[in-house]
């Protein structure tokens, strides 16, 4: 009886270590798998780009149909030669398509966030607010359509796009 008690207490001590190691392994494996896609983004409110260590941005999906909004209940079908995204189509959830992308429950396809090191924060914030630059976020998309933002880089914005970037006060788009 006493030996059983001791064994159970030891098991209770080992269980969290095994569980956390498993959670780590699953996250690691998920992080490695998937296709990388590059998506243009913009900061959505100059005062709220950085929330703690997170860089917050709004996706600029190359949506073909201009009226379509990837809101709740919708998902995206990606088209292009990874990582170059040529166009996306907004379709209802549960639609079958070769390269799906869907938001995690409680999350949105309109905006995203990226964890960044503190000393790069100020520089990234400036670049994201610069109208001459365009932010490109790399999304790693898994087969089931779930995705993880991996990193951000900047390139000069093509001249014809500048007016749209200069639009003042882009609405912070969040969905519950």
């Amino acid at each position: 009886m006493n030996r059983l008690h001791g064994a159970l207490r030891t098991a209770a001590l080992v269980l969290p270590l095994i569980g956390l190691a498993a959670a780590w392994a699953v996250s690691h494996q998920r992080g490695e798998r998937g296709t990388d896609w590059e998506v243009p983004v913009q900061g959505y409110d100059p005062r709220d780009l950085l929330r703690g260590h997170y860089l917050v941005f709004q996706y600029d999906w190359p949506i073909e149909d201009e009226d379509a909004v990837p809101g709740p209940g919708m998902m995206l079908c990606l088209d292009g030669d990874a990582p170059t995204l040529t166009s996306v189509e907004v379709v209802p959830l549960q639609t079958r398509c070769p390269r799906p992308l869907r938001a995690a429950p409680g999350d949105t396809l309109l905006a995203g966030k990226l964890y960044i090191p503190q000393e790069r924060a100020a520089a990234l914030e400036q670049q994201l607010a610069d109208p001459a630059l365009r932010g490109i976020v790399t999304l790693r998309v898994r087969e089931n359509g779930r995705y993880t933002p991996m990193g951000i880089r900047f390139e000069p914005r093509p001249p014809q796009e500048e007016p749209s970037a200069a639009e003042p006060g882009t609405e912070p788009a969040t969905t519950p």
Binding site: L8, R9, T10, A11, A12, L13, V14, L15, P16, L17, G19, L20, A21, A23, W24, S27, H28, R30, G31, H53, P72, G73, A104, P105, G106, D107, K113, L114, Y115, P117, Q118, E119, T148, P149, M150, P176
Partner: protein, 389 residues
């Protein structure tokens, strides 16, 4: 030790020469190099602090996998150390267990940073509970870990509720309501476990604290039900079906807890606690039945805390008794303003309300001083800290 004093004692004739010689001999053979140890200790501290600051300064530059590996190695080392501790544990084991639990909690956040994953807060908390609750329940020895377990459980349950409400399309369903209320009332069941273990475990302090925290949580929930019953009536509310389900489940889970506590604890104090749980189980039903009247809601609230004060009086919980009296007095003052809304608009009304507050405070102070059970060691169980009314 300083041998100078020995010389003085020898000169004063307090110690004879042979004894002094023997003391000197013993001291020289048992001398411990205090200065040497202090130097080694300071050096070790400096190296440790230096390592910590070097790691902290370059934390962002360390590859994610290495960072997670260090975090994990720390947990393994702490678990090994805990494993070698005595079963009942001491303050050090309690603190070590708490630190291990916190390292486990932050590990989820760390994974999220390294792999850029993002999940609703309640999910890692629920996983943490599944992994760490057996550990804390089998090794916790004091209030620190009882509090940690309780807080994580409550935050996970309430986080789950807000997350579910956020998924609007699914909210119309009754099974969602059932799941939410079950999650929110689940921490209460720990009281039954605590009642069972209190007479069987050597870690009395832990189970006692856990029982107190669950009782405090349930009393808080019952107070919210009483306060919310001022609106209504809930019967005719457009959400009445959902409200009825919520009330039935909350009462049901609390009733199960009450019956289990009563059957596990046969001692006099246990009977009082069991009856208190029965009263708490009735509160949601009463709130539903009596909802829709401000005065009735206030009376219900005061009846709840009068019941708690009565139980505290009989069980000898001084702090709990005084807190309950203070809460009732506070509610009484609020009620007077709710009933006489114009009290504050005239000079006479202001004087009257001032006198009323003084009167209530004076009576509450008298009651809590005169009737409060003495603060003695047993059964010093106060579910909340002292509040002077």
């Amino acid at each position: 030790m300083s041998l100078r004093r020995l010389k003085a004692w020898e000169a004063a004739g307090l110690v004879d020469a042979t004894t002094a010689a023997r003391i000197r001999e013993w001291e020289s053979s048992h001398a411990s190099p205090v200065a040497m140890r202090a130097v080694i200790g300071i050096a070790a501290l400096a190296i440790g602090l230096g390592l910590v600051s070097v790691i902290a300064a370059n934390w962002d530059a360390v590859p994610g996998v290495v960072r997670l590996g260090m975090h994990f190695a720390l947990m393994v080392a702490l678990a090994l150390w805990l494993w070698r501790q005595a079963p009942t544990g001491g303050i050090a084991a309690e603190a070590g267990l708490f630190v291990l639990g916190m390292l486990g909690l932050t590990f989820f956040g760390h994974i999220g940073q390294v792999y850029q994953t993002d999940s609703p807060l309640w999910q890692p908390l629920a996983l943490w509970l599944a992994l760490f609750a057996p550990l804390i329940l089998s090794r916790g020895s004091g209030r620190l870990n009882a509090l940690l377990l309780m807080v994580v459980m409550i935050v996970a349950a309430w986080g789950f509720m807000y997350w579910t409400i956020g998924l609007r399309p699914r909210l119309g369903r009754i099974d969602e309501t059932v799941r939410i209320v079950l999650a929110i009332t689940a921490p209460v069941l720990l009281a039954a476990l605590a009642a069972w273990a209190q007479s069987r475990s050597s870690r009395q302090g832990f189970w006692r604290r856990l029982a107190e925290f669950t009782l405090l949580y349930a009393a808080g929930g019952a107070s919210i039900a009483a306060i919310a019953s001022a609106d209504g009536p809930w019967r005719t509310d457009e959400e009445s079906t959902r409200l009825l389900w919520s009330v039935l489940i909350a009462s049901g889970v609390t009733l199960i807890t009450a019956l289990l506590v009563r059957s596990f604890r046969r001692d006099p104090e246990g009977r009082i606690v069991g009856n208190l749980w029965l009263g708490l189980a009735a509160m949601p039903l009463l709130a539903y039945a009596l909802s829709g009247n401000k005065v009735v809601a206030a009376l219900l609230f005061m009846a709840l805390w009068a019941g708690i004060a009565f139980a505290a009086l009989r069980a000898g919980w001084r702090g709990a008794f005084q807190s309950a009296v203070g809460i009732i007095a506070f509610r009484l003052v609020l009620l007077s303003f709710e009933l006489g809304g114009d009290l504050l608009t005239s000079g006479a009304g202001l004087i009257a309300s001032g006198l009323l507050i003084l009167g209530v405070a004076w009576v509450a102070l008298k009651i809590s001083k005169r009737f409060a059970p003495p603060s003695g060691p047993p059964p010093a169980s106060s579910p909340s800290q002292e509040v002077s009314p």
